[in-house]
């Protein structure tokens, strides 16, 4: 197999016991970019930007949606009222920090932020359709940030 310039680096990281970020087939929070990624396939893809919150990932040859990126998670979380609306989120013991939030909630919040245009509707529909099953819908915000 061909060499990768980071192979030695990742071997050191594995030995150090570092907890890796990321997944395929499940949504995960990227603290370096304050965004959530989901890809349901490991195939080559390109991004189609829908709006300031959502980018759809499309298969490079078939163009079918195979995932998406939700950006600006901190801004979306601020819209959630911890003591108010019934929401799909888990909060910390002090009731101030949201520790987990559902992907569905994030998508709905993001869609609600902008104009209801055909492009946005189509993009968010593609995102909802490429979601994993409900038991993989929750995104852990705390462990990624620690």
């Amino acid at each position: 197999m061909a060499d990768h310039f980071l192979d030695e680096f990742v071997k050191e990281l594995e030995s150090s016991g570092l907890e890796p970020l990321g997944a395929i087939g499940e949504p995960w929070y990227n603290p370096y970019g304050d965004c959530v990624h989901l890809r349901i396939s490991g195939d080559a893809y390109y991004g189609q930007r829908i709006d300031e919150f959502l980018t759809i990932y499309r298969h490079v040859t078939s163009r079918r949606p195979i995932g998406f990126q939700i950006k600006g998670i901190a801004a979306l979380i601020k819209k959630l009222q911890v003591d108010g609306l019934r929401i799909e989120a888990e909060v910390g013991e002090d009731k101030r920090d949201i520790e987990k939030v559902s992907l569905s909630t994030l998508l709905l919040l993001a869609y609600d932020e902008g104009e209801k245009t055909p492009v946005r509707l189509s993009g968010y529909t593609d995102a909802i359709r490429s979601r994993p099953p409900a038991d993989c819908d929750d995104i852990d915000l705390v462990s990624a940030a620690s």
Binding site: H4, F9, L13, N30, C35, G47, R49
Partner: protein, 135 residues
């Protein structure tokens, strides 16, 4: 600070000749290695773009301050782990950095057919172009 791999790049805060280090975070890199092989191999593509960008934009997010996007047209990229392929003409490759110079995402994007070195919608999706400088 997590272990990270550093790469020398054009300094986006001083594009008239400055150089600085962009960092591939260790936990993110290890995650790609373990869970997302194709993204791990396209770190090589991201490196090529960081070393030879065509355009650099600033202000990549409406709701997060700062950050940069280095955009390039590499000769090839990875379509399967360890399998290279010529990079498509209708795409560009974008590498996203946060204000601390951590590389947090990289991927192909649709190109603006009128300006093939630029991503589609470039004039509206970033705060502005910082390199090459526009007179």
């Amino acid at each position: 600070m997590t272990k990270a791999y550093g790469l020398e790049v054009i300094d986006p805060r001083n594009v008239s000749g400055g150089r600085t280090t962009a960092w591939f975070p260790g936990d993110l890199t290890l995650g790609f290695y373990k869970h997302d092989s194709l993204q791990y191999w396209n770190i090589i593509t991201a490196r090529a773009v960081l070393e030879e960008p065509r355009v650099i934009f600033e202000g990549v997010r409406e709701f997060n301050t700062g950050g940069w996007c280095y955009v390039g047209r590499p000769e090839e990229w990875y379509i399967r782990p360890s399998v290279k392929h010529p990079f498509p003409d209708h795409l560009v490759y974008s590498v996203y950095l946060n204000p601390a110079m951590f590389v947090y995402h990289f991927r192909a994007d649709e190109a603006d057919l009128a300006r093939p070195d630029y991503p589609l919608g470039w004039s509206k999706r970033y705060k502005g172009q910082i390199w090459p400088t526009i007179s």
